[in-house]
Amino acid sequence: MNQADVSKLVSKLKIKVNPRLRKFRNAEGPLGRLKKLRKTVTALVKHERIELNYPRADEARMYAERLISEAIRYGDCHKTTMELADFWLEEKQLVHKLFKVLVPRFQDYNVSYTHMYRAPRPYPGPMHKKAVLELRGNPYPSLLPDMISNRNLIHNVLLDEAKKEYRAQKYAEIAAKIESAENQFIGKADTSSNTSNEEIATSEKSRVKDAEGSISESSEINKVQDDKK
């Protein structure tokens, strides 16, 4: 049973931390391990999305999270944090990126700062598991499939059916309007002359077009609402 070290306060990480650290055995010992991980952390901060072997990604993710949380906690005027950033980021322009880009980006996050996905391994090929590690809020398109616009999902099927029904209802209303107008016209035609017949027909057409336009607009509004949902 040990007593917790109280000399320094740390923020809680929002990812699951492994119970033990990986050794990454190498000739240089523990320092070599840190140097290996340093390369990965530097690449992650530089490219914001990298594909690599799973164990290295899993280990480097914890270090990247810690580095960002330290930077958020202490800022760029704290000597120890600056030394940490100087050690962990091999390219020195990335120190500026850490404090000026990543800290403002992640300041108000309640979730982890990184994402890790399991990537498929090449077949036939080495049996190592692969992973994709990325910073949240990166500029690349998402790696996950676009589930919102999948037509076969049940909620999308239901929405489509609802739209169809709405459209049919609107068309029925328009048809009823035209019919009533025609009936009126036939009733008046006996009394008045047939000269304005063509004019009325064109006006009817334009009215139908307007109605259709309104339907398409309303369906667009529906789509937007779906996306928001």
Binding site: M1, A4, V6, V10, K12, V17, P30, L31, L84
Partner: protein, 290 residues
Amino acid sequence: MIVSTISRRCILRKQTSGILRVSSIRQLTSNTKSTKENIPTKFSLAEYRHVYPEFIPDPNVEFRNPIREKLERLDMLSRRAHIDIPEFYVGSILAVTSMDKHSPNKTNKFVGICIKREGCGLRAKFILRNVIDHQGVEVLYEMYDPVLSKIEVLRLEKRLDDELFYLRDALPEYSTFDSNMEPEIHPEGAPIPINPIKVKLKPRPWLERWERKDLKGIEQIDLPERFFIRAKELATPWEKYDMMKQYMKTIPEEEQTEIFAEIQQQLQQLELTRKKLKRKRTFIKPVKLA
């Protein structure tokens, strides 16, 4: 060289049965209800970790168990209601009065410097060291041991290092303390003084290789150059960059504040009762001369 350190373990007995524990919890909850009104805060939540480090659970994930930790905290508080366990640090001089089951109705008082604090929860321990009759004596006490009847801080101060095991290899005058020492008064709210004393070590052989430990509280060591070369080879200066290692040795701030917010009321209540008792004691105690 003769190094004779007697260490006596005061083993914690399983005294609290299930029924007792429930009653103690009930007592505590009733206490909190009655004392929720404004009690002046002595420490901020972040500072509690220095004063009560044993309330922070073990950072090793394998030993974590939130329910056990909570029950332990309640047991610790109920023990603290019976015995005043004061604030002290490694380097402070304490006087501990304890009882012995083999000699009933008698107490032993041991005065010494605290050279180590370890363990958490009910297993929190500290080691006191003194030189008695030219013989180094160390006693390991468990803080929540029911055998202890009184813990008194004679001098509240810190040293330059987190543990003072090097006193075992230092000259005896550095760990000799008068057993009739009077408690020194530490003004309320004043910062804890740090004693900058540099200890002179005896010549080798030692119990440990102190030249490899990066100690601040020892004088320049007189050793051949090869010892320092080897120490430099074995040094691990990159450990300060291993952020996960640090993370796994400590408990995150969020969890600490949660724990101390939970027990803050009870701790403050204990502080108040301690102050009252102190005042009483100063009036009653007569000093007999000659």
